[in-house]
C-alpha cells in the first residue's frame, strides 16, 4: 500500500482516534500513516450491527409474545450467548436456559434477579417489568 492509498473514509472512530497504518513512501520505504477509516470496514461493521439489531428485535418480539423471559432479550442486547451469560452470572448454562422460560423467570428470587440486573447494567425493576 502506498501512502497516497491509505483510506481516509468516514468511520465510527471519528472524534475518537485515527488508526496507524504502515504504507510506503513514494521513494520506497515504509512509514506509519494515520487513517480516519476505510469504508469497506465501516460497512462490514454496520452490517454486523444490523444483524445484532435484528436478533435483538426478534428476542423482543418473543418476550412480547410470552414465549421468552426478559433474561433472553437482555442477553441478546448485550451481544452475549448462553455460555458467556453463564460465565458472567456464575449460573450453570442449563440454569440460564431455564431462566428463559417466563414461568421460571416469574419465580426467580430477588437475589438472582439482582445478579442478572448487574450483568445487564439495568435495575431489577427494569428487568422484571420488561414486557417486550
Amino acid at each position: 500500500m502506498k501512502k497516497s492509498e491509505v483510506p481516509q473514509d468516514k468511520s465510527s472512530l471519528a472524534n475518537v482516534t485515527r488508526e496507524v497504518c504502515y504504507a510506503k513512501e513514494d521513494e520506497g520505504c515504509y512509514n506509519t500513516a494515520l487513517s480516519t477509516g476505510w469504508s469497506i470496514k465501516a460497512e462490514a461493521l454496520e452490517n454486523a450491527w444490523a444483524e445484532i439489531d435484528r436478533l435483538t428485535e426478534e428476542a423482543r418480539k418473543e418476550v412480547a409474545a410470552g414465549t421468552k423471559s426478559p433474561v433472553y432479550y437482555f442477553m441478546q442486547r448485550k451481544l452475549m450467548d448462553i455460555a458467556l451469560l453463564a460465565a458472567y452470572t456464575g449460573f450453570w448454562k442449563i440454569t440460564v436456559r431455564r431462566h428463559f422460560k417466563p414461568s421460571v423467570f416469574e419465580k426467580l428470587s430477588e437475589k438472582k434477579l439482582a445478579i442478572y440486573a448487574d450483568v445487564f447494567e439495568i435495575s431489577v425493576q427494569e428487568l422484571k417489568n420488561f414486557r417486550g
Binding site: M1, L34, K41, N47, L84
Partner: protein, 336 residues
Amino acid sequence: MNIDFKHIQSAHCENGVTTNLLRFHGYDFISEPLAFGLGSGLFYIHIPFISISNGPAVSFRTMPGAIFKRTCKSLGIPVEHKKFSDAAKAKQYLDNQIEIGNPVGCQVGVFNLTYFPVEYRFHFNAHNLIVYGKDGDSYSISDPVMETVTSLTEEELQRVRFAKGAFAPKGHVYYPVNIPKPNIELLRKGIVKGIKRNTRDMLYVPGGIAGVKGIKFTANQIRKWPTKLGDRRAALYMGQIIRMQEEIGTGGGGFRFIYAAFLEQAAQHLQMDKLMHSSDDFTRAGDLWRAAAVEMAGVYKNRLVGQDAYNKIADMLVEISEAEKLAFTKLSKMKF
C-alpha cells in the same frame, strides 16, 4: 503517581505494548515492525466448528501473548506474568507496581472499554494496554491503538480486567524484569530467529487449517457458503472475515504491511539487500488481501450475489495463499 512514560501509537495493540514497554526500559532501537517480526507475529488460522459472533473463526496473527513473550525472550529479557482469581488482589498488585514506578501491560476485554466507540465494543478479550499511573480513582492508560493517552476509573479498569468468556484475562498483568543492557547483537540474532520461526509456522504447521494452507481452507469453505448457509448468512460470514481482517489497527492486510516494514528494517540491521525484495513480496500479499476485502464487500452490500461472486473471492484467496507460500519459501532458502 504518574510514571514518566512515552506513548507511541501503533497499528496493533500487542506490538504496541511490547514496543512501548521496551522503549521505556531503554531499548530505543525497538519499533513496532521489529517487535512484530521478532515475535513471528504473522499467521493465518481458520478454526472449523467454532464460531465467533455467529461467524467464522479466523485469525491473521499468532496467538495472543506470543509476540510479547518471544520478542522479550529473543532480546534476553525475563518477563513476569500474573493472573488472579481475586479481583481485589489484582488491583492491589497493579497499584503496587505503579507505586514503585513500573508501567505494566494489562490484558483486557473490549466490551466495557469506555473510551472505545460503542460500535467497536464486542466481547473480545485479547486487547492489550499499559497502565502507567494513578491519580486518586483514575488510572493513566496508554492504549497503543489510540492516538493519545487516556484514563479509566478503578471500577472501569476492574471490569475490563475481569471480562469473561473466551481468553478471559483474569486480571492478567505482564512486564519485563531484571532488564539487561540493550544488545544490538541479540537483536540481529532475534531477527533471524523470528524469520525462521515465522517461515516454519506459515509453511509447515501440521494440518490443513493454518498457515498458507489455512488460507486455501477458507477459500474452499467460501465456495460452499451460498448453498450451505443461504445468501443472508453467507454475506454475514463475509463481513466477519473483513472485520477480523481489518479491526481497529489490526488486520490481515495490515499485518502483511507491518511484516513488509519489518523485513525492510531487518535488511538494514543485517545488511542484506535480498530482504528488501522479500519485503516487496509481502507488500504484494497485503495489497492482494485488500483487493479481496473490496470484493467481499460487494457481497455483503448485496451488489454481487450468486455462486460466481463467491468463487471469484475464493480464487483470490487461493492466489494470496500461493503468494505467501512463495514469499516464505524464498525466505526459508536464504542464508543468514
